[in-house]
């Protein structure tokens, strides 16, 4: 019976108390994991945005937004720009997009975006970048090319009355004859698209798009050739300037060349704020854990002072007493960690968004509220995550039990006689 075993067995003295303590420690653990998850999700989003924006150059027809039905902004790039840009050294990918606007009520508009099924779903309103995730249904597959299918943003879907559970069955009719103060009519037949997926982007206007295969787009709007936007991906950020120079030389007469670095900086600063807030939340969760361990251990020492005195009277050293209580504290925090992990695994995804809204939301500008619902937080239990839980448990056990253990080592063997 080592002092470690004795400490661990002490945990089982009162099962209701053990359960309560595990919950009290497990909830902060869950908060910590949730905050980590939020931080990681935002970081991932920021990384993607930064990478996309910083190494990607956008081309549009000179002096035009490139939307096929926007008044005075409807000039698009000639189709051969695609091949010319793709031939430049250090260009690793070219992605053509076609864009059209569609009116919605109240007088506003949404964006229809034609793209290759495997292309990045870019958000027109947010630096032409994005990382939307599918929240219902499925993503595009190669077989969707030319099919009457679409993936809809959650805000657009809400306007259209399409619910997540309807995805796969719901349809949306594209009517090119409808107009708006800045949208002109195109006399083409209506087309009914089957909605196969719904996405969320985390940005206010980003969720108001409809993605459809680019061939389908051409068929609906009668745009047989040409490109609204061409995204040119460069192999390394250091080669961007050289590629821009070559683009100017090759297609500069017909294209505006945009490198939207401001969007990257904007995204990074917002992400940094969210990550910092999530770290503060994580630190508070650890502090809460330490406080719980502190009070539980102090209570244990006070309740068991006679027993500690007895152990000392029969030959236990201060080192042994310390080992016993540390083992007890580590056992408690590990159990709490396990509880937190289980809670995170099964309720993490559902609760983390709420936590984000309550804990971080109030500190963010109002336009970021949609992040609460669409942030791609994960609840996967990975080996590094378990490792971080164990390390945190050990740290919380040592910090939280330090005062209680010190009190225990100060007790005299005479405590054994306390009630006599």
């Amino acid at each position: 019976m080592s002092m470690v075993t004795l400490g661990v067995r002490n945990l089982m003295r009162s099962k209701p108390r053990l359960l309560l303590t595990a919950v009290l420690i497990g909830v902060p653990f869950f908060l910590l994991l949730a905050m980590q998850s939020i931080g990681q999700a935002v970081q991932k989003q920021a990384d993607v945005l930064t990478r996309e924006v910083n190494t990607v150059v956008q081309l549009r027809a000179r002096g035009s937004m490139g939307h096929v039905n926007m008044t005075s902004q409807d000039r698009i790039l000639p189709q051969d720009v695609l091949a010319k840009a793709g031939a430049i050294e250090h260009v690793v990918q070219v992605e053509p997009y076609l864009l059209a606007m569609a009116p919605i009520t109240p007088p506003n508009f949404v964006m229809h975006v034609g793209l290759a099924p495997n292309a990045l779903k870019r958000l027109e309103s947010h630096g032409e970048a994005g990382n939307p995730r599918i929240i219902a249904g499925r993503d595009f597959a190669p077989a969707d090319a030319g099919q009457d299918v679409a993936i809809i943003g959650q805000a657009y879907a809400k306007w259209a009355g399409i619910k997540a559970e309807d995805i796969g069955k719901a349809t949306l009719t594209v009517d090119t004859t409808r107009t708006h103060p800045v949208i002109y009519a195109i006399d083409r037949p209506k087309r009914e698209l089957r909605i196969v997926g719904m996405y969320a982007s985390g940005y206010v206007f980003g969720d108001q798009q409809l993605f459809l295969p680019i061939d389908t787009f051409r068929s609906i709007y009668g745009t047989e050739s040409g490109i609204s936007w061409l995204f040119v991906r460069v192999d390394d950020v250091r080669n961007v300037a050289g590629v821009i120079q070559r683009l100017k030389e090759n297609v500069g007469e017909v294209a505006d060349i945009l490198a939207p670095e401001n969007a990257a900086a904007f995204t990074s600063s917002t992400s940094r704020n969210v990550i910092q807030l999530s770290r503060v939340g994580g630190a508070l969760a650890i502090a809460l854990m330490v406080v719980v361990v502190f009070f539980v251990l102090l209570m244990q020492v006070r309740e068991r002072s006679r027993e500690i005195g007895t152990l000392k009277a029969i030959g236990a050293s201060n080192k042994g007493v310390t080992t016993q209580f540390l083992a007890e504290a580590v056992g408690l925090t590990l159990l709490g960690g396990l509880f937190g992990l289980v809670l995170f695994k099964f309720a993490g995804e559902a609760l983390t968004g709420r936590l984000f809204a309550i804990g971080i939301g109030p500190f963010l500008p109002s336009q970021y509220k949609p992040l609460f619902d669409s942030l791609a937080v994960g609840s996967d239990i990975s080996f590094p995550l378990v490792g971080s839980v164990v390390l945190t448990a050990l740290m919380a056990a040592v910090l939280g039990s330090a005062y209680g253990v010190w009190q225990a080592t100060k007790l005299s063997p005479l405590e054994a006689m306390k009630d006599e």
Binding site: L6, M12, R13, L311, I314, S412, E420
Partner: protein
Amino acid sequence: MNEAVQASATSAIRLVGVSKSYRKGGETVHALSDVSLDIGERGMVAIVGPSGSGKSTLLHMMGGMDEPTEGDVIVAGQTVNRLSQQELTRFRRQTVGFVFQTFNLIPNLTALENVALPMEFNGVPKAARLARGTSLLERFNLGQRLKHRPRELSGGEMQRVAIARAVANEPRLVLADEPTGNLDSRSGQIVYELLREIARERTVVVVTHSEELAGLADRIIHIRDGQLLDAELADPRVSLATAGR
């Protein structure tokens, strides 16, 4: 080696001019006043006195659980009040065994584990401590109770486990503070007989209120108001005491 320590070479316990006082409610309380005493090897010594007379304080001094304000406490050749914390721990582990009025068994350990605990502190290998623990409990008629936890034992059984625990490391001295105080007379009698039995191999000092039980000891020391009144020699094997008055 000074005179006191030299003299203690033939004594299990030697107290030289021991006083203990402490402050309570702004007043100085003298728990022990200039007590000198010799207790020899082996035999059972009873310390008898009314509540507050200082008998428990005297016992605590002998066990290295309390320090005198003045004087020296020499047990088995070691001046207890001059030992470091580490040495005191080793002293409590190897030289003395304690028996408490309220048994003080560790509630979530079995009888055998309770007995084995001091041996673990003393570095005895697991197999050896389990064998000795089992042997002791069988000797004390608790062979059927090895795996029982304290709450499953009667008061008398718990105290017998506590005595087995006290002698587990084969200490030279066993100190018992009112060991029958929480027992009925039958169980108390059994516990006393057991203490007498183990006193054949070592010195057993028992603090008690009961003159009747004290009468079974080899020697009785009376104490009142922190001072020894007399010392009665009940067994020639026990050395003559010097009462400090």
